[in-house]
Amino acid sequence: MHPREYVGLSVSIPSPADLSQCVHCGLCLQNCPTYLQTGYEAESPRGRIHLIAALNEGRVAANDAYRQHLELCLVCRNCESVCPSGVHFGRIMEAGRAQLYERASLSLGERLFRRLAFRELLPHPIRLRALFGALLVYQRSGLQRLVRASKLLPSALAEAESLLPRLPVPFSPRRDVYPAEGQVRYRVGMFTGCVMPLVYGPVHAATLRVLRHNGCEVHIPRRQVCCGALNVHGGEQEVTRELARENVRAFLGRGLDAIVVNSAGCGAIMKEYGELLASSEALEFARLTRDVTEFLAGIELEPFRRQVRRSVTLQESCHLVHAQRIKDAPRALLAAISGVELRDMAHPDLCCGSAGLYMLTQRDMSTRILDQKMGEVAATGVQTIVTANPGCMMQLQRGVRRAGLAAEVKHVVELVDEGYQAPVDDLQM
């Protein structure tokens, strides 16, 4: 018998070869956050695969119940990490959802939301910037306090509003190419993404500093656009293809050694561009893509300049540890920074319930998962939670507020950056 062959991403039919690879052994069950919450087979990886297969056999309908089971999946892909049979669960679920949204009758509001998010907003940097500019004014002008006090917002919108962290100054690169500090060791592209520069600008600034400090000439092409991950997760593959083509054009032809990305969710889909577009350029783009932790752990780092006295716990972002299978890199970096003490929580590889738009669309389950996560965090007694993805940061910040913890939420690269800051010669040293 030969190793099985796979077909590429289809537009809207889950590949029968992918579906048949699941042997329904159940070894995924205890690694599925929603099964752990519910104990209900319909909210398990194997149950979802069976359900999608059943739809394609004409045994079930794409009705509300079907839709709820598919939508309750976080697509954290923890099940993929532990599957002995090597089932490509993410691929199955993405195609399953695309198929669902072609068939299901969505309400007007849902169609509007999907159109706004997937087609009118995320792919358009200027519109996003305008929206977040307005939100920044909203937060800083005192309007936010007024609105919150007035309780005028409908509850769903109010919850979405409460998720937004206090917005920092956006990351607005002034140059296309930033020179390395000292001798050039690598020429890298920096992927900035859609929302990240607006919500987590300081993480980008830290990434840029750390890369330059380590001899990287950093290219930040202006033409780059959103990675398209949220679209694919939402079952909208066509827009992602357009975005992918645009990004491939923006980064290739510069003689880059790597395309560095500090958002695990973006990195995961960028590494799948080859499969998505099936072009040699896209394959090259995917080959060059590196998560920032992966890149930094793979090069010889400049010596750190100061101690970072923090006790930290690591939330291994799902799209890093499960989708990209990068487990050791963030740990290696944390171990390299002197002063950092890593205290693992019970399940660092279990999703925090963020999962992109999930934290808005599946508020209830997202919160149940988050509260359990915060219990594990509290048990470690750390000052800082580190992670590697903006969605996780947003969700964990919400969790910290909910649990009333004093912990800070940081990206791993922000701690690396701290280690490169000028030494403070106070009593701490």
Binding site: A17, G26, E41
Partner: protein, 478 residues
């Protein structure tokens, strides 16, 4: 009132399901058989189980208790439809009694979770089926589950001290408990392995064993399964009883290495995974004997796991081995049979011959120390008529094992899969006694009906035919 509505009143929201889209994922376990339930209920307490059983009995609806659905014999498949009672939400460890080396648990507790919770007390739950990271104590009890370490420590029945069970009339009875010497009839022993045909176990008192002080794990590489089998017999006849003694053949190794990269040599004809444990002073001496015996039997290489991490990787790969077959075949039939361990090489020659004759590749895992073999017949269900060949080959393997003085299941249970083979082992009189015990405890035969004992028509064949028809249509395949 409709049964579903009544149960919703009792259990509250989110605990009773009946729509096809909500219950279709309860039509399978890890085996080949499938059958749709009419209803699924997820109770949280013994009282809720009692209410469910009373209502279902009143409605004359079959009741099939289910743990994690990791069984391989169709035990949790509702072959006559009816109500699935999933015990997944009854997953609390009620007590760890370290002084008395036991624990009291609900049936939905995950096997490995119990050992993890017991570890700080220096204790563990000994039965370690390969499904242990997902399977439940309740499911282990139903199937009298085994596992690699049952070679030295015994199977599940040796580790269950007592149970609480809900009977057909909704009463909850208790047999056994923490006291070591039980009196009266050993009904705990009857319940363990009864595959849900007597009632629903809602609580168990289980034995915990002290963790060994030291462990040594060796991987020995052989040119052939025959050579590895010779080493197994030599080891045991030298008086060494390893805590586990596992074998894999070349085809199995190839799938396992594709999945886990645990370091099993792909060029080997067979590997033995040998573990010894005990006092620090003992284990190195035992490991030396293992080394010597394996080399004398023709081992090409043998090495010890250097770290706990390496040992964990070897075991994770071994325990995921059956599931890893999905990498090399679209479908497989995982068999379970036992022979006296000295007959292993001879049986294996038969297995190879049977596979060749039916033109079916067969990968082999063995709990070699117990003579428990797991031939996995690989196939692609899309090939017309192949299931008949697969079933025929399976039947021949089992028949050969019985002729060699063995039996038809070591640890997976009878379920739907093996009930037609029961007459190979038991006389009509034997089976009649079992049937009478069963009907004494469950007179209406509503608990997991048509399982274990041979049914008038072979449910297994029916279900398997059903699966062929339900399989993804040809046009769907690429």
């Amino acid at each position: 009132m409709k049964l579903a509505d009544h149960l919703r009143d009792v259990l509250g929201p989110g605990a009773v399901f009946e729509a096809t889209e909500d219950v279709i994922m309860y039509e399978y376990d890890y085996g080949l058989d499938r059958a749709m339930p009419d209803l699924v209920a997820l109770p949280r307490s013994t009282a809720e189980v009692q209410a469910i059983v009373r209502a279902a009995q009143a409605a004359g609806v079959p009741i099939v208790a289910r743990g994690a659905g990791t069984g391989i014999s169709g035990g949790a498949v509702p072959s006559r439809g009816g109500l699935i009672v999933s015990l997944a939400r009854m997953n609390r460890i009620l007590e760890i009694d370290a002084a008395n080396r036991c624990a009291v648990v609900q049936p939905g507790v995950i096997n490995l979770d119990l050992s993890k919770v017991a570890e700080p007390y220096g204790l563990f739950f000994a039965p370690d089926p390969s499904s242990q990271k997902a399977s439940t104590i309740g499911g282990n009890i139903a199937n009298n589950a085994g596992g690699p370490h049952c070679l030295s420590l015994g199977v599940t029945v040796n580790h269950i001290l007592g149970v609480e069970m809900v009977l057909h009339d909704g009463s909850a009875v208790r047999f056994g408990g923490k006291t070591p010497e039980a009196l009266g009839l050993d009904l705990t022993g009857v319940i363990v392995g009864s595959e849900g045909t007597l009632g629903v176990v809602t609580e168990a008192t289980v034995r915990l064993m002290p963790l060994p002080e030291a462990v040594r794990t060796a991987v020995a590489l052989f040119g052939s399964v025959e050579a590895a089998s010779a080493a197994v017999s030599d080891l045991i006849s030298r008086g060494v009883v390893p805590s586990a003694l596992e074998m894999m053949d070349r085809l199995a190794i190839s799938a396992v290495e594709a999945a886990f990269q645990a370091g099993y040599p792909p060029e080997a004809g067979a590997v033995l995974l040998v573990e010894v444990d005990g006092l620090v002073e003992q284990v190195d001496g035992q490991a030396a004997v293992v080394d010597q015996v394996c080399r004398a039997a023709g081992a090409l290489d043998i090495r010890l796991a250097a770290t706990a991490d390496e040992r964990a990787r070897l075991w994770a790969a071994r325990k995921g081995a059956a599931s890893a077959m999905g990498r090399i075949a679209p479908n497989y039939y995982l068999h379970d049979a036992v022979v006296p361990r000295t007959r292993l090489p001879e049986i294996l020659a038969h297995v190879v011959e049977i596979g060749q004759r039916h033109d079916l590749p067969i990968a082999n895992l063995f709990h070699a120390g117990d003579g428990n073999l797991h031939p996995m017949i690989l196939f692609d269900v899309r090939q017309p008529g192949i299931l008949d060949r697969v079933m025929a080959a399976g039947r021949e393997i089992l028949t050969r094992c019985v002729e060699a003085g063995g039996t038809i299941t070591g640890e997976h249970g009878v379920g739907l899969e093996k009930q037609a083979f029961m007459p190979l082992i038991f006389s009509d009189d034997d089976l009649d006694v079992m049937a009478r015990v069963r009907s004494a405890i469950d007179p209406a035969a509503n608990f997991n009906p048509a399982k274990i004992l041979p049914a008038p028509e072979s449910s297994h064949a029916v279900a398997t035919r059903g699966q062929t028809q339900q399989c993804i249509p040809e046009s769907m395949w690429v």
